[in-house]
Symmetry: C2
Subunit: 432 residues, 2 copies
């Protein structure tokens, strides 16, 4: 049973705080293993990558060339995908591309009132590594969500790594990589793949940034190489928060709660509603739908262990709770979602009205499905084109405006005890 | 002596690679100590913060109130600052504000050809913690560079922490905090301050993001609380790369190289020039200026241990080296810096022409001086308003466009084995 809270209960604040503080992530301590793997890849390059891959994925490769996915393999994968699914991938790609193209920041060069030239110019990261998990969590949609924004940003090289345990690769993942414009694919995974991307080997050129989800080993490896390369956020288990007024179809809301819960036993689905009768009906619908769900065991465990239903007296009362939860996904299943949206401060993505199930955003809405989890929407954003570009500041003084600004710079340099700072200005003003 | 490389030498590539790979950071292993301090602050709150502060900063405080900087103390600090320096702080604040206001991203709501409503809306982080080091590295300019962008972004609460060893606080830092709009100041530092900001105590409300430079303990604490709160990048030692043609005043370039070197014995100053005679003259000028520099010992050690002078045959030949170094600060001391700028891909900030010493950018240029170090300009940017806002994606379908997009979402959900994803769409299309 999910927990049930009422804002009218005396212990509400205590129980709500406990809900916020609840840990859903199991943190495995794999740091020592990961450190050794990374060191070995740095030392032995290709040979180490091949050894770890053969051992962990039960292969007998003798070269990185053998672990490189060929054009023919990609073509074969695409040929094996039914045309409806391939068309769906292309529709998703086109919609993601169109939405993300609007995020491309513009250069800004200008001259201020003093005549000083300033500016910000944006350039794409030169090479990006994209990690794709093997096995069950090998999602083609994630390939699109990570690779298409990089492509839009102008990244020239997108190197994908995906483990192939026992030689098995998901053909849909290869198809998605082709559709998204990935430029090279290696059949490697784990910390050894992250190390190869970060430091490079004889056969694999290093990248400047690594993105994409992975297991505890991958996450630990990403944390460890951070600084040498950029990384995206380390994603936690997925979450949805649905805010619903009384006018809702309980079956629709139950389906949405379960769509989140089926990801992972540690996923979290929360319903906040003004209507206790609806709350009961949704709980009943969840139980009903669980019986016929292919991943009912996963979804059921998530709903039982982390699900929550909260009743409030008004939608206004719901807003502070929404902002404290800072959900990855927020559905506003209410008559006037725009009005409620005005009060939303912390959320990764918001789905408005009754006809926008979160799953649309996972696939074909166009916005990104890589979003901040575990309350990090308080300080961070979903993946976007901005993650694949960087800004360079521009400054240009001439002799005249250096004369105007120089004395203040000299004063501050001297106040900070940085004499060479002051001198680098004064020497140009014939002052020192 | 700094190293001297010529691109014409046979071993150039080997030696240039060694320069790139050179480590300048001493990584102290303080992680265990930091972990214990953070755990204690989480457990005992105020009492732990007070204990650590009394111990490390040699104080006898009995409450957080006593460690909170009062209005009267700020006023007294401002009164003690000479008016030229105070005016310089205000000029810097105004110029930083004006430049950063241009970085504020705009909301983007639109309806696509299918009638789907999409968008991105930006909101400010609610509360930010600003770490300011005590002692020598307590720079008022850094307070401005961190706090003003937060203010521009619309952050309501900016909580500053600054240790006061033996009770001593730099009055300029308090003046800068007031000028920048910091809303509260605590006389605490180290890992205990980071823990208090991240988790909150009885007296200190938690923040959502922590920015600002600090020593090894602060850096380790920031890494550890990352996830619970956002953090800015962990800055390494500062660097400048100057690209110069033959038409330069060697004394000016020497002053600029030393302005970087005086920050830290681990700072790095590099000159790339087309003119070997100029290179000799700059080296001689550095030696001369070192004799009269207040921080000559620091600057001299940096120049000796990490300085480099590289001669190239043409400016075109310099560009690939610039982009591989990916410097924090890049001065283009050449006749046509705009032409050269077109080829710059990786740099934190670029200073154009002969009258823009980097120190102008440290103080009063208007752009931010918190910039990516240690080659991280390949994948990251300087501090900006974007670090204090976050983006929420918006998606809204109606019954009609859900019908258009739904089948593709169902196909992908089923292809990924996520039945509840598919059902959350099909149930609204009366398909399931």
């Amino acid at each position: 049973m999910p927990i049930r809270l009422s804002i009218e209960a005396e212990d509400f604040e205590t129980r709500f705080r406990a809900l916020l503080a609840g840990k859903r992530e199991v943190s495995e301590d794999v740091d020592q293993i990961v450190r050794d793997i990374i060191e070995d890849v740095r030392r032995r390059g290709d040979a180490a990558v091949i050894d770890f891959t053969n051992r962990f994925d039960r292969l007998q490769a003798v070269s990185i060339a053998e672990l490189t996915v060929t054009e023919a393999e990609i073509e074969a994968a695409i040929a094996s995908v039914d045309s409806a699914t391939l068309d769906a991938l292309k529709l998703a790609r086109d919609r993601i591309h169109a939405h993300h193209a609007r995020q491309m920041p513009k250069d800004d060069r200008y001259t201020d009132a003093l005549g000083v030239e300033l500016g910000s110019i944006w350039t794409a990261v030169e090479a990006v590594g994209l990690y794709v998990p093997g096995g069950l969590a090998s999602y083609p949609s994630s390939v699109l969500m990570n690779a298409v924004p990089a492509k839009v940003a102008g990244v020239e090289r997108i190197a994908m790594v995906v483990p192939s345990p026992d030689g098995v690769l998901n053909p849909l993942v290869l198809a998605a990589a082709r559709v998204a414009g990935v430029t090279e694919i290696y059949r490697i995974g784990g910390a050894q793949a992250i190390a190869a991307l970060a430091y490079g080997t004889e056969s694999i050129a290093p990248v400047a940034k690594i993105v994409g989800p992975g297991n505890a080993f991958v996450a630990a490896a990403k944390r460890r190489v951070f600084g040498t390369v950029g990384i995206d956020m380390i994603a936690g288990p997925s979450e949805v928060l649905i805010v619903a007024d009384g006018e809702n179809n309980p079956d629709w809301l139950a389906a949405d709660l379960l769509a989140q819960a089926e990801h992972d036993p540690a996923a979290q689905s929360i319903l906040i509603t003004t209507d206790a009768t609806l709350a009961d009906a949704v709980e009943a619908a969840v139980d009903r739908q669980l019986r016929t769900l292919p991943r009912g065991d996963v979804a059921g465990a998530s709903w039982r262990d982390y699900g929550a239903v909260i009743t409030v007296r008004s939608l206004d009362e719901a807003l502070p709770l929404v902002n404290r939860i800072a959900p990855e996904h927020l559905e506003l299943a209410v008559a006037d979602p725009e009005a409620l949206l005005k009060g939303v401060r912390n959320a990764g993505a918001v789905f408005l009205g009754h006809h926008t199930p979160e799953a649309i955003g996972d696939y074909v809405g166009g916005s990104n499905h890589v979003l901040p989890t575990a309350r990090s929407a308080r300080f961070s954003s979903g993946l976007s084109v901005l993650d694949f570009v960087k800004r360079t500041s521009i400054l240009r003084c001439n002799a005249q405006n250096l004369k105007a600004l120089g004395p203040a710079a000299i004063a501050l340099g001297e106040a900070e005890g940085l004499g060479a700072h002051a001198r680098s200005v004064s020497i140009r003003l014939n002052l020192g």
